[in-house]
């Protein structure tokens, strides 16, 4: 087991190195750089600035310099924000995490329950109406339903805030603050959940159907176990196995932010920050963010592999 872990970690580092190289060159070779943003600048001034920022150096030299700093734990300063990358992440990433964690939890919870029920009563009216609802919800674009809900609940009814994370100018602290943030979370979380639940429910439904056809479920039923126990302990646990792989993939989404939702609801998340930095070609910030997602993705897959081993004795080495 331990040699396996060590081998995996070495692979992970190599993957990250390859990814960092690829991402760096991809960004560096995208036409236009940070200096180009200002059209009013003379060519001479542009050349001076490229010198100051080091954009005129060969690509490989820029990459090794960046990598060297990163290995020392220094992700550098954002060109646009004039702040260390880590400080910026710290400002935005937890807001994104809050939104993503709440909606991921709800999505999974609803999907598991609905998936199991649909499988158990497959092809019943309940199953069909859930399916119709799910597909309807999935097919509505998030910006449309987002704006529609703002109009409905915030502007016309006035029962929920129209966006942001707190009421502008609010000085709430402690419990009042938590309640305020929770109020502002309702609409965005509702929409992310609404849009995300569909595919997961279908996923669980089909795996559950599969599991219920297995011999061990028949055996369990034959033993005279209660249907609920058969369903949740025997069938569901096996149906959940492939979902472990999915959990690993959720990790980067938790921290990656959602550009569309954050924009509609004016949520101070990292998706917006990334968007800006791409249009501005803010290389240090771009690299930092994309590497963060890469690291989380690799760690996510690693964790799900380990979890898989714990859950399923058949793949244990």
């Amino acid at each position: 087991m331990s040699t396996y872990v060590i081998r995996r970690i070495i692979y992970m580092l190599l993957t990250l190195l390859g990814a960092s190289m690829l991402i760096f060159f991809l960004y560096a070779l995208t036409p236009g750089d940070y200096v180009d943003n200002n059209m009013n600048m003379t060519e001479q001034r542009k050349a001076e600035l490229r010198e100051i920022y080091g954009f005129n150096k060969p690509l490989v030299e820029r990459y090794t310099a960046w990598l060297g700093n990163v290995l020392e734990g220094d992700f550098g300063y954002s060109l646009q924000h004039q702040k260390p990358i880590m400080t910026l992440f710290n400002h935005y990433i937890w807001n994104s995490f809050l939104l993503a964690a709440a909606s991921t939890f709800l999505t999974w919870f609803i999907a598991v329950v609905a998936g199991v029920l649909c499988a158990y009563k497959s092809h019943s009216i309940f199953d069909k109406s859930v399916t119709i609802f799910i597909f309807a919800a999935m097919s509505i674009p998030s910006f449309f339903i987002g704006l529609f809900f703002i109009k409905l609940f915030a502007v016309d009814a006035g029962i929920l805030p129209p966006g942001g994370m707190i009421t502008t100018g609010s000085n709430a602290e402690g419990w009042a603050y938590i309640i305020e943030v929770a109020e502002h979370m309702i609409l965005p979380v509702l929409i992310v959940t609404l849009l995300g639940t569909g595919s997961l429910t279908r996923y669980f439904r089909s795996h559950m159907l599969e599991a219920m056809k297995q011999d061990y479920v028949r055996t369990a039923r034959a033993k005279g176990l209660k249907e609920r126990i058969v369903l949740y302990r025997h069938a569901l646990r096996n149906a959940m196995l492939p979902a472990i792989t999915l959990i690993g993939f959720e990790l980067p989404t938790l921290f990656g932010g959602s550009i569309v939702i954050e924009k509609i609801f004016n949520w101070p998340g990292i998706g917006q920050l990334y968007m800006q930095s791409f249009t501005m070609r803010d290389y240090p910030l771009l690299m930092g963010f994309t590497m963060l997602i890469a690291i989380l993705t690799v760690i996510g897959t690693f964790i799900s592999d380990l979890l898989y081993r714990l859950a399923d004795p058949r793949v244990r080495l």
């Binding site: 935005y92 703002i150 502007v155 966006g163 502008t168 550009i259 997602i293």
Partner: protein, 589 residues
């Protein structure tokens, strides 16, 4: 091994998804304007959150609006949440980047924040004319090379320390540092000894002399009409920002970006990234403490309308479409003001192509394009056709002797014939065996979609083959233009404080292929005097010449609709300074 490949693939997938998301967002900014250029412009503007929505009732037409303030029709409709907020003014702003030191910020929106926190020696009124601010008055020598500013006696920074000529001298000096990477181009003012300081040959800038704490004299080598605004810019405290300054090392100043100390009407209380910036009134402000105790910039990336509608925000700028006007008027509790931007939109012509040497072809391209339909029709009145490189709000604007180039396909055909482009067998004109194919580049937006649709039709009617290409990403567009493989490309200038900025690109040196000795001469004359009446005459001649021998296809002036809650009294947003100048004078009813 398969899993490693898989995870790598996922990383790529994740980043490509971010790319596409980015792409779809890029198309938001309105008309043919270039988003990044505007965002990077140095001067403080109000945010322009372009919006599109639908509404029914029509009351007033955008085209009928004057420049005055349209009073709210029914202030009693004011939402409760706004009524309760009697000591706070909340304005909207696109997310700034957080570097609030003037001259050092990298985004125009930081400039908006800085304009509340810092104060310049001189500023401009709503026609772009220079007026005193921290400086009571200034004198310019007969040869127009030496400037003397007399500062107000009671100037103080927000920390209570006095603001003197030393601080002005420090601000101007630090801009000459060799590692300065901000947007203020001090070298255009040609201060005596400036270059020597940059190259490390001198320990101070020779032309800057502090005469007494309230008087500073600046000597320049060359007359430049834009120098007064640059020299009279926002002032940094020497004691605060210059404490650790050594020539060539400016890194320390980054630590101070988030903790600004200035002489503006407000001081920064708290910055909640991605949410809001809170300010409190500065009791040391030289015109007296502002009446409204608290001011907030609420930072919005997307739609601001919902916040205006619910009363959570008091002020926002919208693109001046009929839909937006109807929607805003229907709310009843908003005062509205229409403003034409100081920038202009243009279609640049690639003068490196030999066939553009003939001005008849360029003129034909203008006559042959129905700009009025595209600009005024598609933008629903939120823009008007431009014919000269200055905005109707500027003191330099004129229509005297300017050919409006009304759409005229016949005239365009005649010009093309005269230029030697004859219709070929397939209906496309040709000259010396070369077909008249126009390659057009622009960013992807609603405005450029409309232009392409109409231009294609317009140009094929006069025998020109029009080949458009759109870019989702602004920097990619610029790179393509730099590559030189194009004929026309759409852009917009940033805000233009001085008319010189609107024409400086047309000199033989800068214009990349366009050369007109008369234009060169007039551009030079335009900044070689500080007398505004003389400059008016020069610019009139210059605009007439540029109108006759067009370096660009001048395209549009965009219009903004400023909307603010009627309980805010005394606010008068202007196209050059946004709300910054009138902010200290406002009060809440």
């Amino acid at each position: 091994m398969k899993k490693q490949v898989l995870s790598l693939f996922i990383v790529l997938l994740a980043s490509s998804m971010l790319f596409t998301a980015c792409t779809s967002n890029e198309s938001k900014p309105s008309a043919s304007s270039a988003p990044s250029a505007a965002a990077n412009s140095n001067a403080g503007t109000a945010n322009s959150t372009a919006q599109t929505n639908t509404s029914a009732a029509v009351s007033t037409k955008v085209t009928d609006l004057g420049t005055g303030i349209i009073q709210a029709s029914d202030p009693s409709k004011l939402p409760e949440s706004a009524k309760k907020r009697n000591d706070t003014f909340i304005a909207g702003l696109t997310e700034p980047s957080g570097a609030f030191t003037p001259h050092f910020h990298q985004s125009g929106y930081d400039g908006n924040v800085a304009s509340v926190l810092f104060a310049p020696l001189v500023t401009v009124d709503e026609n772009g004319k220079i007026v005193p601010y921290l400086a009571d008055k200034w004198e310019i020598s007969k040869d127009q090379l030496t400037y003397k500013f007399h500062l107000n006696k009671d100037l103080k920074f927000s920390d209570g320390s006095p603001l003197t000529a030393e601080d002005v001298a420090f601000t101007l000096t630090i801009l000459h540092d060799k590692n300065y990477d901000g947007g203020t181009d001090i070298f255009a003012s040609h201060i005596k000894g400036g270059l020597a300081y940059k190259e490390g040959k001198a320990t101070s800038v020779a032309g800057i002399k502090v005469i007494d704490p309230q008087t500073i004299q600046i000597e320049t080598d060359e007359v430049n009409a834009t120098a007064l605004l640059t020299l009279g810019g926002q002032v940094l405290s020497k004691a605060y920002y210059g404490k650790d300054y050594k020539f060539g090392s400016l890194e320390y100043i980054r630590e101070l970006h988030a903790k600004p100390v200035g002489a503006g009407p407000y001081k920064l209380d708290k910055h909640l990234p991605g949410q809001e910036l809170r300010f409190t009134a500065n009791e040391h402000f030289f015109k007296g403490k502002p009446k409204i105790e608290r001011f907030i910039y609420k930072t919005t990336e997307g739609d601001a309308f919902q916040f205006i509608e619910t009363g959570e925000q008091d002020y926002a700028a919208f693109s001046a479409t009929q839909d937006n006007l109807d929607k805003l008027q229907k709310l009843g509790f908003l005062n509205l003001k229409l403003n034409t931007s100081s920038a202009y939109g243009y279609i640049s012509i690639n003068h490196k192509k030999p066939y553009f040497k003939d001005k008849k072809l360029r003129q034909a391209l203008i006559y042959g394009l129905d700009r009025k339909t595209i600009v005024e029709g598609v933008s629903q009145g939120s823009a008007q056709v431009a014919n000269i490189p200055t905005s109707p709000t500027s003191w330099s604007y004129t229509e005297e002797g300017i050919n409006p180039y009304h759409y005229d396909a016949e005239k365009a055909k005649t010009l093309l014939d005269e230029a030697g482009w004859k219709e070929g067998s397939d209906g496309i004109r040709e000259k010396d065996g070369q077909k008249l194919v126009i390659r057009y580049l622009s960013s992807k937006s609603k405005g450029s979609d409309a232009l392409i649709a109409i231009a294609k039709e317009n140009y094929s009617a006069i025998g020109i083959q029009f080949e458009p290409e759109q870019f989702a990403d602004f920097n990619a567009l610029l790179a393509k233009v730099d590559g030189g493989d194009y004929d026309l490309a759409s852009f917009s200038t940033p805000m233009l404080l001085d008319p010189h900025s609107g024409v400086s690109g047309f000199t033989t040196e800068e214009a990349k292929g366009y050369s007109n000795p008369k234009v060169d001469q007039l551009i030079k004359e335009g900044i070689s005097t500080l007398d505004i009446e003389k400059r008016k005459e020069v610019y009139k001649k210059l605009y007439q010449e540029l109108n006759e021998d067009p370096p660009y296809i001048f395209y549009s002036y965009s219009k903004l609709l400023y909307a603010y809650n009627s309980r805010i009294k005394g606010l008068d947003p202007n196209p050059y300074r946004g709300i910054a100048t009138s902010l200290p004078l406002t009060s809440i009813e």
